[in-house]
Amino acid sequence: MGLGERLQYLDRRVIFLVILLVILIPYVKPIGLPIRVSKEAAAFYDAIERVPPGSTVFLAADYDAASLPELYPMTLTAIEQCFRRNLKIVGFCLWPGGPPLLNRALAEVAPRHGKQYGVDYVNLGFKDGQEAVMVMVGASIRDAFPADFNGTPVASMPVMHGIQNFSNVHVLINISAGYPGTKEWVQQVGSRFRNALGQSIPIVSGCTAVSAPEYYAYVNAGQLDGLLGGLAGAAEYEKQVGIMGTATRGMDTQSLAHVAIIAFIILGNILGRGAGRKHAA
């Protein structure tokens, strides 16, 4: 068996080892490549910047641990931006794994800005119902979420005073890993409900890179006001808010990993062609 053929049938664990070594390089020697902000990420940032200080936003954290590395940095950065602008956050989750992660994100950022739970922000927890919950939030969020994640009635919380549905908030920030998520918010809520300014409720989405290509159609149609796609989107957002977070630090590794995959594709095709010609001969 020639070298080419041996390489073609290489034990996949050797490939795993090569990939592991490649992605470990930036941990030993950080590169610090500059990050370019895309149009869609800039639009996400601008949509929140346009919200008047003192207003309330809805933050739907529709993800769980499987998408944590991509979506948790987006959640942290969104909360940071909202608190800097003195916006109140009403957070909730349509994925069961979401509430403790949202709790952790809010608890991490709030003390830096002197924000108080129940006064400046709240985590309403999880509801199982997908699209039904979305439509119900549009009619009455208090009927959908009568208590917060810890069981405290929302009627007793200052942050929920005057908040009945979308007509009392300015924007919906959706951090989404799949179903239910951005697509369903756009379908069920985007065309149907108005915000505090009487406009169609602006929806901005931070989503996994797997979902992002599909949502470009929504951005182009004006159904989404901004889009962050995957870790790169999270890094672009961190740059705009001025944070050196986990997403920014991960972009060096991401760059090298992509180059490695392209190298594997090219090498696999070269070796495959060589083997094909040999068999034909």
Binding site: A65, S67, P100, E214
Partner: protein
């Protein structure tokens, strides 16, 4: 009648109520619809518990029958009952030992057992995608070539190294995402929307009955 026709009638009435509700802004109708959505949330919760109860039943049977690898069902049932008791008992017993809030044992176990394991299971895909790229990604036709070229341009354009290789690479990647990708994804969205409307109407009208199962 009760086994077949009544469920179909329920589907018809409920489905039409949800669709017609969009066109009827009358206060009582909207309130009724909203009440109904609240019921859907509650019933879904029962469905979730049903799923877990079934899992526990199957695990217990495997242990009772000493089936192959029955030993692995012990940590499954142990973890299930531990989390359930810690979380549910929070209604009657005090935090932080019981309950689901921040700082509780339930929360700690979720963040340090569930989160790392689910995260790592999906992280394994990074290695398998590399292996698949090497062994299975073969460019043998024009169409496959287009796919490969688009993949390479987008992969490089979306990360910082792309701008170092060629100034205009990010712009090319953006163009691919916003024009040809947009066109194809929009076609898929429109096609899927037509399919969803057709299937939804078939289910509501009782033409599609597979969800009822056999008699």
């Amino acid at each position: 009648m009760l086994r077949r026709e009544l469920p179909l009638l329920i589907t018809l009435v409920v489905g039409l109520f949800m669709v017609v509700g969009l066109f009827v802004p009358q206060r009582h109708f909207t309130a009724g619809r909203s009440e109904f959505e609240g019921w859907a949330i509650i019933i879904r919760a029962f469905a979730a518990v049903l799923g877990v109860a079934n899992l526990a039943r199957i695990s217990a049977l495997r242990i009772a029958r000493r089936e192959r690898d029955w030993g692995y069902q012990l940590p499954l049932l142990g973890g299930l009952f531990l989390m359930m008791v810690l979380g549910v008992a929070g209604t009657w017993f005090p935090a932080p030992l019981f309950g689901i809030g921040e700082g509780s044992l339930f929360n700690d176990l979720y963040l340090n057992i569930y989160v790392p394991m689910q995260g790592t299971m999906f992280a394994l895909l990074a290695f398998y995608i590399a292996s698949a790229a090497f062994r299975a990604f073969r460019v043998r036709s024009l169409e496959a070539g287009l796919l490969a070229v688009a993949a390479v341009l987008v992969m490089l354009g979306r990360v910082p190294i792309g701008a170092l290789i060629w100034d205009h690479l990010p712009a090319v990647s953006d163009w691919i995402m916003n024009v040809p990708n947009n066109a194809a994804k929009r076609a898929i969205l429109i096609g899927a929307a037509l399919g969803a409307i057709a299937t939804g109407l078939k289910v509501i009208l009782g033409l599609e009955r597979n969800y009822l199962g056999g008699d």
